[in-house]
């Protein structure tokens, strides 16, 4: 036997040893060895929906874009109204190519200090972060600096009991803290950047911490009885139920914000003024409607349709599944697909081709499982 020399170099997460100690099964993902599950995807999924789960998402890219004119510089690359984003506010946005194709989806937070230089904190997908950094370096003006916070880990605490557990650990943190808001927090020696956001459809927080302090924070949070570590497997089934697209599967340079159902990320001002990549094409799609649409599908039976399954209406092929799997909360399979606009209406009966058979499916609204984000001032 000869050893293959062509083994892809996988990076280790700051919490690699911590995951293994807790019984995680590690798999390659986005260039890292990542925990796919600890006790099992179903149990972890249900735990997060009912209690609180701690996810290690340190593979994601944490970037700082800083300088006078940073908002305008970002607006040249994203369709969001960044100049209207106040300090401490988070917004979902999209990195677009010149054609309006989606290069990545990301979260942008205004982290400008009072009286300080404009500064924005971006969290981008792990698998695309190097391309994103190259794209930003190429297109940001020279006076805008781009820093990659590669010495920081990112943990997500998600679930209906996340706020209670976090408040018990860091008293006062959750006060006056709504969904899509962010703040810095000093927890002992730990300098944290916390946002109330996530990728599960539940209330939750994403916490940026120095890589060499990540183990302290993860250990402390998991000491709370509501909190268990949760793997990537449940992260995927949770986000699918929440109707949230996954870059590289539901989003790609071949998709655009309108077809993808992400037109909400194109701010009103930007619709009026344009000036973002692919604006001409995207504004036309907004006005005329996109020829294909990302839709949610509920399947009958228990067999799932996975990415790549063809969608049929009678004998006509009308689309392709981009994500699919079993929904633990609903007890049946669900999927996201791009289908012809004529087949995208709620209630449309379609068929999905799986292993040569046709599985009946119906277009349903997303999210499949209602979001339970925490809105300030809203009654519970």
């Amino acid at each position: 036997m000869s050893e293959s020399e062509e083994v892809t170099e996988l990076e280790k997460l700051p919490l690699d040893g911590w995951h293994r100690t807790r019984g995680a099964r590690m798999v390659p993902f986005a260039g890292y060895e990542m925990p796919i599950q600890y006790e099992g995807i179903l149990a972890e999924h249900e735990w997060t929906r009912n209690h609180a789960g701690l996810f290690d998402v340190s593979h994601m890219g944490q970037l700082i874009v800083e300088g006078d004119g940073a908002a305008d510089a970002l607006e040249a690359l994203l369709p969001g109204d960044i100049s209207a984003l106040k300090p401490g506010k988070v917004r979902y946005s999209l990195l677009l190519d010149e054609n309006g194709g989606i290069l990545d989806d990301l979260m942008v937070t205004n982290v400008t200090e009072e009286g300080g230089t404009p500064r924005y904190y971006l969290v981008v997908n792990g698998a695309t972060k190097w391309d994103d950094i190259a794209h930003l370096r190429e297109h940001l003006p020279d006076e805008i600096t781009l820093a990659h916070l590669d010495e920081r880990a990112l943990l997500a605490l998600q679930g209906p009991e996340a706020a209670g557990a976090l408040e018990r650990t860091m008293r006062g943190l959750t006060e006056d803290f709504g969904f899509m808001e962010a703040k810095t927090w000093q927890f002992g020696e730990l300098d944290l950047m916390v946002s109330r956001s996530g990728y599960t459809g539940e209330d939750g927080f994403e916490i940026s911490v120095a890589a060499d302090q990540a183990e302290q924070l993860a250990g402390r949070l998991c000491a709370e009885l509501e909190v268990k570590p949760i793997g990537l497997g449940a992260r995927d089934s949770l986000r699918l139920e929440a109707g949230l697209p996954l870059y590289g599967h539901d989003l790609s340079p071949e998709t655009d914000p309108v077809s993808a159902g992400l037109a909400f990320a194109i701010s009103k001002k930007r619709r009026e003024e344009g000036g973002f990549p692919g604006a001409e094409r995207i504004l036309k799609l907004l006005a005329d409607g996109a020829p294909t649409r990302r839709v949610g599908l509920a399947l009958e039976g228990r067999a799932a349709a996975r990415e790549g399954a063809k969608v049929f209406s009678g004998d006509s092929e009308v689309g392709t599944v981009t994500s699919g799997g079993f929904s633990p909360t609903l007890g049946h399979p669900i999927a996201m697909a791009y289908v012809d606009a004529a087949q995208a209406a709620k209630g449309t009966e379609l068929e999905l081709e799986v292993r040569g058979k046709r599985l009946p499916a119906r277009v349903v609204p997303m999210p499949f499982v209602p979001h339970r984000y925490f809105r300030k001032g809203a009654s519970k």
Binding site: S237, R302, A303, P333
Partner: protein
């Protein structure tokens, strides 16, 4: 009765001309939570090494291959309502299908329990 194993992590328990097929404990632990199983219908002809059943975890669908050539007598009806039996009792109540063996000499190439254990340990 003798039980044999394949490198694809199926087991086959032979009783004369008939046999029962399932996936091993190692296989179920690798797959994780099983949410759907498709077993072959009675009368289906299956060939050694060819797809005979499908098992789906939350993450992915996997093929289950028939360890030998034969004709299916019965698919396990219990798996339709309770696919998690494959996790809880992979080498017992979570069996996939029973078949009549038509090429008994194919069994010679399969592993016994001891060899299979060594095979798994080497993975």
């Amino acid at each position: 009765m003798t039980r044999y194993f394949t490198e694809d992590h199926e087991w086959i328990e032979v009783d004369g001309q008939t046999a029962t097929v399932g996936i091993t404990d190692y296989a179920q632990s690798q797959l994780g939570d099983i949410v759907f199983v498709e077993v072959p219908a009675e009368g289906t002809s299956v060939a050694k090494g060819n797809e005979a059943a499908v098992v789906e975890s939350v993450k992915a669908a996997s093929d289950v291959y028939s360890p030998v050539t034969g004709v299916v007598i019965e698919g396990n009806p219990a798996l339709e309502d309770d696919p998690a039996l494959v996790n809880s009792a992979p080498e017992g109540d979570g069996w996939f299908f029973k078949l009549t063996i038509t090429q008994p000499n194919e069994l010679d190439a399969l592993m016994d329990a001891e060899k299979y254990k060594a095979f798994c340990d080497s993975l």
